[in-house]
Symmetry: C3
Subunit: 367 residues, 3 copies
């Protein structure tokens, strides 16, 4: 039986079809983060990215390498096989692959004659602490398009972490573009009650969405207040959410004592990169790279801020998993989402993702 939707809800349901969600095919022609550099070592590990099962390892010269995790002969997972030098020897029948995925040896026959067994390799680029991967059309893989990560510049110090998010990556991007949730989902960590009501500006370009929030005056939560000594003072908290690509969102923030003239203020800024790499439609590798431009040599500040931040981001992981679970169990017939003014950037972002996905998958199916 169909619920009686209101006119507004019906319109929202129709409008929703133009927005990406957990049913939208992945965008392949894009640089995503596959791993932090310290995750890829001289051993074989399996990781699913954009629905594809991959195997990762580092070559003897240190180059990170990503291959299809499936032996082209009889589908044994290469991640359960043996790394010998820069080659993988399949754990089933011994087919040997070089780092380009070319099968170079079939033990049961001389001369191999096995080019067809060769498997796909994926372009990877290591930049500082992150390894980028290109899952799409290899001809389009242009490293010049890899986004810059400003927290990796000189004069900044960083920490990073990796979480398993049991939700579609679109919902993570949306979460990051509407920080009104800080007052609610993060009430116990780094949200403050005034956050949701603060003034905001939206800036939307063809492929990038920004939301800037000036929370002034406010009191800073411990994660920002303690290391800046601004705790308990009338402070400003200026935050910009920046959707950089389907793979990356950067949050920029600065903090200062509003009773100190601009020229005399210490420069307290943080930048947090949130990398959303879809594994499946309901699982996302959620990587975080956090940087600050103060207390550069104090490891205890790094530890404190990292711990506080990850506790907050864990609230997102729990909350988004609850949303995804509810949606998965919803019959869908009467499903709609109503957007409000502060969703403007998020809605633009979801339409942009939908457009990218449509373009790629329509193009591909007419190949």
């Amino acid at each position: 039986m169909s619920e009686k939707l209101t006119k507004v809800q019906r319109a929202a349901k129709v409008a929703g079809r133009r927005m990406a969600d957990h049913t939208t095919p992945f965008i392949n022609n894009m640089w995503y983060i596959a791993a932090f550099t310290d995750e890829i070592k001289r051993e074989l590990i399996a990781r699913t990215i954009l629905g594809k099962q991959l195997v990762f390892f580092r070559q003897e010269d240190g180059s990170p390498t990503a291959l299809d995790n499936r032996c082209g002969h009889r589908s044994f997972p290469l991640s359960k096989s043996k790394l010998e030098g820069d080659t993988i020897v399949c754990g089933y029948h011994g087919m040997r692959y070089d780092a380009s995925g070319t099968c170079i040896e079939v033990p049961s026959q001389k001369g191999c004659g096995c080019s067809g067994i060769s498997i796909r390799s994926f372009p990877v680029v290591e930049r500082g602490p992150v390894i980028w991967i290109w899952m799409g059309d290899e001809e389009l893989a242009d490293p010049a398009k890899i986004p810059q990560l400003p927290m990796l510049e000189e004069g900044w110090v960083t920490s990073h972490d990796h979480m398993d998010l049991k939700a579609n990556y679109v919902y993570l991007h949306e979460n990051l573009l509407d920080l009104t949730h800080l007052s609610y989902l993060h009430a116990a960590t780094f949200g403050t009650p005034d956050y949701a009501e603060a003034e905001f500006e939206t800036k939307i370009t063809e492929d990038r969405m920004f939301l800037k929030r000036n929370v002034v005056p406010t009191r800073l939560p411990p994660v920002w207040g303690k290391p800046t000594n601004l705790e308990g003072k009338d402070a400003a908290r200026i935050t910009t959410s920046d959707f950089v690509s389907p793979a990356l969102h950067i949050v920029h923030a600065e903090f200062y004592d509003i009773n100190i003239p601009e020229s005399d203020r210490p420069d307290y800024r943080i930048k947090t990169a949130h990398f959303a790499t879809p594994a499946t439609q309901h699982e996302t590798h959620y990587f975080v790279l956090h940087g600050r431009n103060f207390a550069l040599t104090d490891d205890s500040v790094t530890d404190f801020m990292h711990g506080q931040l990850m506790a907050a981001f864990d609230e997102d992981v729990v909350g988004l998993a609850a949303v995804d679970e509810l949606i998965r169990n919803h019959d869908g017939e009467d499903y709609y989402e109503i957007s409000v003014a502060s969703d403007k950037a998020a809605v633009a972002m979801r339409r942009y993702l939908k457009k990218l996905s449509d373009a790629e998958h329509v193009a591909s199916s007419s190949d």
Copy 2:
């Protein structure tokens, strides 16, 4: 490969299409029990009813309230949100809903302008120890159609419980309408060997099915024998199964010593309401409300009978889950069920459920 069904089995397979089963859409236009009154308190709880995810709470004046569990903005479960007075504040972005499901506050914007975000509320009616809910067309929700529960009358004492049944609700109704299973499924608890072979009468009206069984003479099982002091005596056990609605079945029974003239006999009667509230097609909230008209002030009798009864009903829960699991794993192609004489009322009931479902879902799809 198709098994070779006999002619009788083929006919049974065809006839089965007229009977409700786990593939039949739910009947929404009906009063179901949502909960016992003591389950709904001043806190938010989630419960799935007829496939819909709901949130329940009690208002400050004590009124039980049922709403869609999904925030109309971005689908956060309200059951994981905050109850403030008679409102729910969504745990994600702070949308505030009143007890009617109307969104009355969007923190990020003044004046709200958010009527579309409002969610559906469901009519609930509290009657004694039970809370009824109407999941269907609200215009048809007539509290006058809520069935009477005779064990709540004066001169009766009751106890109640709530089980999670991992089976479709149709199979629970069928179980209750064919008590021949007492001699087998309940051989270890309140069944006796003579039960299955006892004479029975069936009465079938348009929307109600009865099956009356006179087990005379018999020996009573402890649950009835002990509190009546009829254990070990030649007794009568007269039971009527009464299918009241898709949501409710009442079992009436009386017991007496057949060697005592009717005029001198103590009046020992019990009435057990079995409420079947579908959660999903393979999960049912199974509520039991048991009453007796004797030993009214003796709590130890209540405890004894309740314990004995629940042990027996747990055998139904285990048995029906085994049936449901077998059916789920059956390929279906050669599935059929053969009915016998004592199934007459159950078959009529399943046809009635199918007719109700068809009427509602055909009507709805032509909206």
Copy 3:
């Protein structure tokens, strides 16, 4: 997005459609092993074979019996019912079935009149330590077609075991027909490095595939080397893989010291029957019956060899489950398998299985 397959891979993908895999319907008209004789006793056990849920028991005269596990009345599993003499009394409403599956009693009615309730029985034949079952068209069930098991002849001693394989049965047959995997999957147990590169001959008939491998000279692994005292010597290991039927594969092997003239050599031979009985498309009952023609009276040799063999076969169980899991999670669009020379027999076998399945299921659907 479609990956760019090479021409060879595209051809392999097309060729793959002629080979059986986990999507190929089961072959019913075939004798499979249902159980070892010691698994079927005077009690009811459930086992799923070719997707059908069955109940097994042994009659009072010792005859093994297989029936549909579903009561024809209301689908209660007979495996959770009661065995009385040679009959099963359904645990729900007491329907009584004889060993032929005929319903001979309905407690709630005299005279039964219940022939339609009767359920299907399946032909079973007990031969030595194994019980064969025929799941297909009963008219075609010819015990003369049950394969001979040479390790049951006089002068041989056997041991047996039963494993649950979480993979499709086709992949087990393929594993057995290409023993190049011994050098890799079984490197830690009974494989040796020279195995994969050894010369082999293939023999393919219409319904039988053989692969013979002469590993000469070699060193024997402990499982063969210790009981023959050939450990550490220059030995021959001559192995023949023999695909007997969709249900059975036999591995024959002989071992000798190559420095002893043929006329003086002790006769060391083993024969291992691998029975693949599909439960579902991703679960297989994997039965092993191993025989040897030496050390006939030494139980410690039996224990030693059995332990060593089962450790090796467990590597197959783990490896094939990994393959099956990878395939299940593969999107399939770009799936292909490339075969090499040593797969010739395996490919012929998979084509043969596909042909048998097609013949049966096309015939059946045109009934």
